[in-house]
């Protein structure tokens, strides 16, 4: 089971994790990314490339399912404005054993950050600015390239 959803509405991470538990997996691994209270950030805004985003995420989920023996993978990503503490992204995997689930989850979140066309903008009291890409994210994603 592969599920990829990108949209403006909040999502429930517990419901998504519950869906992963269906289907006879021995273990699930999940990552949830939240809007950080970074030095006065009030709102984070996410823009994306509709169509390409969903295809890239689906391709990553397909690749994860080929590389590890997964029974399910779920990627949920919010777009639009969101406030501190709100969920931005959920990545979850289910497999017979923990090693496959954890590795596949780690692969998905690392590669999502460099391969999927999303852009973040921070709003602070002093104004707003687009967040710049980090070299550390490229390094993290490169570890998973074959």
């Amino acid at each position: 089971m592969i599920r990829v959803e990108v949209g403006p509405d909040p999502f429930d991470a517990a419901t998504a994790a519950g869906a992963l538990e269906q289907g006879g997996a021995g273990g699930i691994a999940t990552f949830t990314g939240l809007v950080r209270a970074d030095g006065g950030v009030s709102t984070l805004e996410l823009e994306h490339y509709p169509g390409m985003t969903e295809r890239v995420l689906r391709d990553l989920a397909d690749e994860a399912t080929r590389r590890w023996d997964l029974s399910a993978a779920i990627i949920l990503h919010r777009v639009g404005p969101m406030t501190v503490g709100e969920r931005i992204v959920f990545v979850g995997t289910a497999a017979a054993h923990r090693g496959e689930a954890i590795a596949a989850m780690h692969f998905l979140i690392d590669r999502l950050k460099t391969d999927a066309p999303f852009w973040k903008r921070e709003h602070r009291a002093g104004g707003e600015s687009w967040i710049e890409a980090r070299a550390a994210d490229d390094d993290a994603a490169d570890r998973w390239r074959e």
Binding site: E47, M52, V89, K113, P117, W119, R121, W130
Partner: protein, 85 residues
């Protein structure tokens, strides 16, 4: 050749529009040529495309390096490095 351009994040803001249809001249062969040509189209385009090293591109929704030939491209997107997750 008619190309549907799409702009995202600060590139979109600098150009002032999220997309446009363009017909570049024959001499425009690859993405870098296209960026240079677009930079001449208006003051906003000039600001958006002044520093190609800060830009990334996709042809028909696939990431490509800036030296990629346009070929039969229908949709070309120009944007800053991605920052999702």
């Amino acid at each position: 050749m008619r190309i549907e351009m799409l702009y995202f994040a600060w590139v979109r803001e600098a150009v002032g529009i999220s997309g446009e249809a363009v017909t570049p001249p024959e001499a425009v062969r690859n993405v870098a040529d296209l960026i240079a040509w677009l930079g001449e189209q208006s003051e906003g385009h000039g600001r958006a495309f002044a520093e190609p090293e800060k830009l990334r591109a996709a042809i028909d929704q696939q990431f490509v390096p800036l030296d990629r030939e346009l070929g039969a491209a229908r949709e070309v997107a120009i944007f800053p490095p991605v920052t999702g997750g």
